[in-house]
């Protein structure tokens, strides 16, 4: 089956769903299930569209890396939509746009086409965040997002004027022939800032606090898990294949990312609101993922994206449901939340401990492996800062867990639907399983290549 259908079918379904609004969410379920099946059947390689051979026409690049991203994005959209089918039933059309936009972002091999998908997914994200009922924060997100994508477009147009191509593979070849990295600093910086806005990298992420700080069971996991993981994957694609930071730019990017990790964890530590703790932790994880890609540690960055997406889906949904029922997201107001919800408490604890990187959980395996690789690369200062941030992260998460487990005064009552518990339990089980059984992770390690390896090996 062709990978083009992964974009075309959701777009077509989005138009059809306008005619059948009541059934739009069911159309979304059908499309995401079709997409998941299609990912397994899709042939790997460069897919030519419209008969124009590269570098002239638009082409898609299907490899193991993009397949992992597609599976994660489509599966998470399906799960989040299914869990919110009663509370947010009218978002089917927008979610179909999300699927088309994010699948396109992950698949496309054309830089301008990438910008178009960035805007499609961006507009869908603004509409999703409108469900927070906080129009000011959504408006700010729209303006910052529009500036980010304009900077990205400016950067790619400068690249086009330099190399005369928009095809990513072709551009990578042209850049390899051009030995002067100084000329590329400006377009790469502009594109990195543009992607950094959507990927929540500090200091380009001023929208995050307003959006995730007022999120609900739908918008929270959509932005913190689905969008974060898709943007993590595309950022990884750009950093490892196109940008290949060098010299002063590499130093500046490393400093920004390390500062992003440490400052975000400090902000989470200082926060007294549970949603803010989670959102600052997400920002720190986004910087960590980008840092791993910059250092060429691709496979562990991919695992970190997956583990983080699963953990944050569970954590945001549990906290946002509690906030909805209790009316506040202050840690103090949610004290003793798990005293009445043992199963949910255990699942939340597993997800949190995995993010912290405790042994027997997948987060530990990932942290141990990427720290070892950083040590091999001689990045001692980076390791030191990551360890400091991990200590801060450990303190605020343990404090949060203690408050949520031990009640003070009246017990608060939050009812989690059985479907919530079932899905969360499966995710927690996956985090536990891959923490102790790493054979599948090692197997996958050998199949993730860079774009040029994919092109050269056919």
């Amino acid at each position: 089956m062709s990978a083009v259908l992964l974009i075309a079918i959701p777009l077509l379904a989005a138009f059809i769903s306008i005619l059948f609004k009541k059934y739009s969410i069911y159309l979304l379920f059908a499309v995401t299930i079709f997409n998941i099946a299609n990912v397994f059947l899709a042939t790997e390689g460069i897919i030519i569209i419209g008969g124009f051979s590269p570098p002239l026409g638009i082409s898609l690049l299907v490899d193991t890396y993009s397949k992992i991203a597609l599976l994660l994005v489509n599966a998470l959209v399906l799960v989040i939509a299914a869990l919110n089918v009663k509370a947010y039933p009218k978002y089917g059309t927008i979610l179909l746009l999300v699927v088309a936009g994010l699948n396109g972002l992950v698949l496309t091999n054309d830089l301008f086409n990438f910008f178009v998908f960035l805007e499609i997914s961006g507009i869908a994200a603004y509409l999703i965040t409108a469900s927070n009922k906080k129009p000011i924060t959504t408006f700010r997100y729209l303006v910052i997002g529009a500036i980010g994508s304009s900077l990205f477009l400016l950067g790619l147009i400068i690249l086009y004027s330099m190399f005369g191509t928009l095809n990513m593979v072709d551009m990578i070849k042209e850049i390899a022939l051009n030995n002067n990295y100084q000329e590329l600093v400006l377009p790469f910086t502009l594109m990195f800032i543009g992607l950094g806005v959507e990927a929540k990298l500090l200091p380009f992420n001023s929208w995050v606090k307003g959006i995730l700080g007022h999120s609900n069971t739908f918008s929270g996991p959509m932005i913190a898990s689905v969008y974060a993981s898709a943007m993590g994957f595309v950022l990884g694609r750009f950093i490892t294949n196109l940008f290949n930071f060098e010299g002063m730019l590499l130093t500046v990017v490393l400093v920004i990312l390390v500062a992003g990790i440490v400052l975000s964890d400090i902000m989470a530590f200082a926060s007294k609101k549970s949603r803010e703790i989670l959102l600052f932790s997400s920002v720190a994880q986004a910087s960590m993922i980008a840092l791993l890609f910059v250092n060429g540690i691709i496979i562990w960055a991919v695992y970190l994206i997956i583990a983080n997406a699963l953990s944050k889906t569970v954590m945001f949904m549990i906290i946002n449901k509690a906030q909805k029922d209790v009316g506040s997201d202050e840690v103090k107001s949610l004290q003793g939340l798990f005293a009445n919800n043992l199963v949910i408490g255990i699942i939340f604890t597993i997800a949190t401990l995995s993010v912290m990187g405790l042994p027997l959980l997948v987060g530990f395996t990932i942290k141990l492996n990427f720290l070892t690789e950083l040590a091999d690369a001689g990045q001692i200062w980076t390791i030191a800062f990551i360890l400091i941030a991990s200590v801060v992260e450990g303190i605020y998460f343990v404090k949060l867990l203690l408050k949520l487990w031990y009640p003070e005064g009246n017990l608060i009552k939050v009812n989690y639907h059985l479907s919530f518990k079932l899905v969360f339990a499966i995710i927690a089980l996956a985090l536990l399983t891959f923490g102790v059984y790493q054979a599948p992770l090692d197997k996958l390690d050998n199949t993730v290549d860079t774009v040029m390896e994919v092109v050269n090996n056919g």
């Binding site: 178009v116 805007e119 507009i123 603004y126 509409l127 129009p135 000011i136 408006f139 477009l153 147009i157």
Partner: protein, 111 residues
């Protein structure tokens, strides 16, 4: 030369977004930024001696065409810009309905 004017418009739009607190003025500034960007894109493919890139039966030996690709890109960028502006105006309207003001400073307390 035209590229300097385009960059000036881009920076002017960026400045407008950062100093405005009025949602409508912010959207106008965003549009100025986008116009600057679109002119910059067009200027990349422009050539003073160039003619319109249309294939004809007349021999094209020695003719210089302007690059048609930036023109196609700008068309798409304009459409996307219109979509974003329309959505931004919808949010501005919903802010007005909620707070009876377009000025973000007036509603900081309501946040």
């Amino acid at each position: 030369m035209i590229q300097y004017a385009a960059i000036l418009l881009f920076v002017l739009g960026l400045y407008g977004i950062f100093i405005s607190t009025n949602t409508i003025k912010m959207l106008v500034s965003l549009n100025i930024l986008e116009i600057g960007l679109n002119i910059f894109i067009i200027s990349i493919g422009f050539n003073y001696q160039g003619i319109a890139p249309i294939l004809s039966s007349v021999s094209d030996t020695g003719l210089i065409y302007v690059d048609p690709l930036p023109q196609a890109l700008v068309l798409t960028a304009i459409v996307i810009g219109v979509g974003t502006t329309a959505l931004g105006l919808a949010f501005a309207k919903s802010i007005y309905q909620k707070y009876q003001s377009f000025d973000l400073n007036d509603m900081e307390e309501s946040l």
